[in-house]
Symmetry: C2
Subunit: 163 residues, 2 copies
């Protein structure tokens, strides 16, 4: 899929078909994630791909806005070592996953993440060593809905030269 099209047509998808994602595609998503920009060349990220239903259900029950993780084909937990720019790095990598997922015909939804009270518990459940932070939980699957959502128009958010 064309890059601009993938970026512009990506929407948060929360309803998925009960169909697994081929391993090669999941690997490609993480390959895209690891090639994100990273401040100072630190690359503090680690990506945990969870397909196990019990673990997905456990995660889904912990989050406030991620119950659909239980029914997704996979959930990628993006973790970063706590560096100065861990959140920027982890978010750039997360966005790469979302766009790549769209290009592969997958739906996705970004679930927080950093600053959530449940974040440390999820890191622990997934076996992360101390010092890592949960940036995002990305639900992934073949879409069973096609959400349309208007956003603030270009004319409102684009400023030439000055705010």
């Amino acid at each position: 899929m064309d890059a601009i099209e993938a970026i512009k047509t990506r929407r948060s998808v929360r309803v998925f078909q009960p169909k697994p994602i081929p391993k090669e595609i999941l690997e490609d998503l993480i390959d895209c994630a690891r090639l994100a920009p990273t401040a100072r060349g630190v690359e503090p990220w680690e990506f945990i791909v969870v397909t196990d239903p019990d673990t997905r259900k456990w995660i889904a029950a912990k989050t406030y806005f991620g119950p659909f993780i239980a029914d997704a084909a996979a959930c990628v937990a993006v973790l970063c070592r706590e560096t100065k720019y861990y959140l920027e790095d982890g978010c750039a990598a997360t966005e790469n996953i979302l766009i790549a997922a769209r290009a592969h015909g997958l739906g996705s939804c970004w679930v927080a993440g950093d600053k959530k009270p449940y974040a440390p518990e999820i890191c622990q459940k997934l076996g992360a060593p101390p010092g890592y932070r949960l940036i995002s939980l990305v639900a992934l699957g073949y879409p069973a809905e096609n959400p349309q959502k208007a956003k603030r128009p270009l004319s409102q958010v684009l400023h030439w030269e000055r705010f």
Copy 2:
């Protein structure tokens, strides 16, 4: 350009040709940015496209790692209202700009940004109202270098089911 190719071949470019970017392309980059995911549907972002050479030189001189902004065709300042997830939202939008730039044959480099002592001064210079934070400064231009940079391999960053 194919989405996966754009994501995987994007690299930080810091040397640019002295050639302006068509207005339609700059608009398309911001159109991609505004379609990024946003927590709770808040869309706290504003995008200031700076092409004016004097302003670019002023910004370049303020940053520690952005001197090349002076020689870029444009610099996009990504600002967000200070909401709970302003940094996540702003970083997702920034990453969309970088990938879209690559797809349009442009080079780009993400310059911080949030947490930098110079951030408030740049917001003020660009006329932002109080309550906005600088997420990133994106230098843009037709590339005059083709950097290759190895990153941590997939086998090191991808974990199945557990860390």
